[in-house]
Amino acid sequence: MKSIVIGVIGADVHAVGNKIIDYTLTNAGYNVINIGVLSSQEDFINAAIEADAELILVSSLYGHGEIDCRGMRQKCIESGIGDIFLYVGGNIVVGKQDFSEVKQRFLQMGFNRVYPPGISIDMALNDIKNDLGE
């Protein structure tokens, strides 16, 4: 069974979506390690190392996602999980910005997939299956 680490990054407390993501991914047959809200980059990385996870799925709802996610790929590399998949979604930036630019910035930071607001976890299930198999 493939493992996925999920959580809400930074000082963000929006907990409802996180529960739904947990439920959906578990039902889809993945081993979900849910580190919950208020999680730091290091929390995600440590959980991924311990669980030998193949994907870290970051949620950010309060608009502060860009600064919270900076440098995460670099830390993954030092931590020996440089090849892990990094996804991010929710409401990752403040307000309504041109999403293609936002996406570009996150891809630059080393994220593999970047989702705009309004994309629920069900809509991302296919990507996960493609990337991880099963």
């Binding site: 608009g63 600064i67 670099q74 830390k75 590399i77």
Partner: protein, 460 residues
């Protein structure tokens, strides 16, 4: 009561400082060209003769110890995995050990990088990479690359602890002078300097000064104990912290502009504000940075490169000079000393630019981020805003007719609130060039060293 002789075998000058513990002060000093290329003892004996002449008679010293930056100083290569993390950590360890970091490499080494370690005549390699339990593939690869190259110099391994045994085996198999120390970044963003720094110092004393022809001076004196920049760093730390009942000056910044580099030291807590979020690799309390592209002669062209076309035009217009020509002149004639007022002013201008740029890189930055929850401050690097003491050392500043002008460039001259430079410090100079000597003296009489330093700092 004891008399001490403290020596700095510098790249150009051998400097002697004589201290009398009863007097509680320096009682004589002298210097002579360093003669490490022929025989380091010649220059030393000449300086000693001069010292005896100044005093009027030869003196028997109870202790004679030295620091050295002769023969190129301690040249190191810092190797890590990711630039912002273990590479930066390795670099900070080397600088904190008083080294010149001539080479910095990240990720997998290639053969031309390894070749550079040979051609640049590196003295010690520090190999880091991976947090504890983290990436190990890269350090194993790099350890093999370095070992197979037969460098013949010590390699210090301060990376992921999980592969220490494998690394040691690689070193042993290739008969490498290898040393294993604690990881310089055991956890993400956590900096761990101590053990690696101690090992570098030990190797400097055991191997490097021998290889550089400095060790033979130990037939004349007691011991060479430190690289010069580390002696200065120790002096700064003592000056800031104080020692037992003898109070220090509080947090300090020390500036040294030389012909080839501009060195900055800050002894301070990285941040004192509770309302900021600290990002990036942990900052050391005693931090040293060396800018190899900012200097008055050998590296003067670096100043030019750091200027924009508009800035060059503005300087030329404002000062009525041709800054490009002035800089190139100094770069081709590195022993040039200012002969008149205008050359002196240009030298001061160059020193000001070195200090301004060097502080730009040394001091931290604040970023204001508007979030749905209001404004949030993110700090990277050290916050020096409330530093009250800025000290200048080294010939360029000490001998300047207006050292304050130069030192003032450490502050926030352009009123950019996002640069965490000192705001309203007082300025001092180490007028007798005694910081290095007090760093040495602090090894065995810290109270005396501190008292003398305080006495000899001149406010400007």
């Amino acid at each position: 009561m004891a008399k001490y002789l403290l020596i700095d075998f510098g790249s150009t000058f051998t400097k002697l400082t004589a201290v009398d513990s009863e007097l509680g002060d320096i009682f004589a000093s002298a210097n002579h060209f360093t003669t490490v290329d022929t025989d380091i003892t010649i220059g030393y004996k000449n300086a000693l003769d001069q010292l005896s002449k100044t005093i009027g008679h030869p003196v028997v010293f109870d202790r004679v110890i030295a620091c050295s930056s002769a023969a190129g100083g301690l040249k190191m290569a810092a190797i890590g995995l990711v630039e912002e993390l273990t590479v930066e950590a390795a670099k900070r360890v080397c600088l904190g050990a008083g080294a010149k970091v001539d080479l910095v490499f990240s990720h997998h080494l290639n053969s031309s990088e390894v070749e550079l370690i040979k051609t640049k005549k590196i003295d010690i390699v520090l190999l880091a990479g991976g947090s504890d339990g983290g990436n190990s593939e890269c350090v194993l690869f790099n350890a093999k690359m370095l070992s197979e190259a037969n460098l013949g110099i010590p390699i210090v391994y301060g990376g992921n602890k999980s592969v220490q045994d494998e690394i040691k085996a690689i070193f042993d198999n290739h008969h490498v002078n290898g040393h294993i120390v604690d990881n310089v970044m055991p956890k993400i963003n956590q900096l761990n300097i101590k053990q690696a720094r101690e090992k570098i110092r030990e190797l400097f004393l055991k191997n490097i000064i021998e290889a550089k022809g400095i060790k033979k001076i130990e037939s004349e004196i007691d011991k060479v104990v430190l690289p010069t920049p580390e002696a200065v760093l120790r002096a700064c730390e003592l000056l800031a912290k104080g020692y037992m009942h003898e109070p220090g000056l509080g947090e300090v910044v020390v500036v040294d502009v030389g012909g080839a580099t501009t060195d900055l030291y800050s002894i301070s807590e990285p941040s004192k504000r509770g309302d900021v979020i600290l990002t990036g690799l942990e900052e050391p309390y005693a931090k040293r940075t060396v800018e190899g592209d900012l200097g008055m002669r050998y590296s003067a062209t670096g100043i030019l490169k750091a200027l924009t076309k508009e800035e060059i035009m503005m300087i030329n217009l404002e000062k009525g000079i041709d800054i490009e020509k002035e800089i190139n002149d100094r770069n081709t004639n590195v022993s040039m000393l200012p002969k008149n007022r205008s050359e002196e002013l240009i030298d001061r201008l160059l020193a000001e630019m070195c200090v301004y740029k060097a502080m730009n890189r040394h001091a931290g930055k604040m970023e204001e981020i508007y979030t749905p929850m209001g404004m949030v401050h993110h700090q990277t690097g050290k916050d020096l805003t409330d530093i009250e003491v800025v000290i200048g050392t080294g010939g360029v500043i000490i001998k300047s007719t207006d050292p304050k002008q130069i030192l003032a460039k450490t502050t926030n001259v352009f009123r950019n609130d996002f640069e965490l430079r000192p705001r309203h410090p007082k300025f001092y100079i180490d007028s007798t060039y005694s910081l290095y000597a007090m760093g040495l003296l602090s090894e065995f009489d810290p109270v005396l060293a501190l008292k003398i330093m305080k006495k000899h700092l001149t406010q400007v």
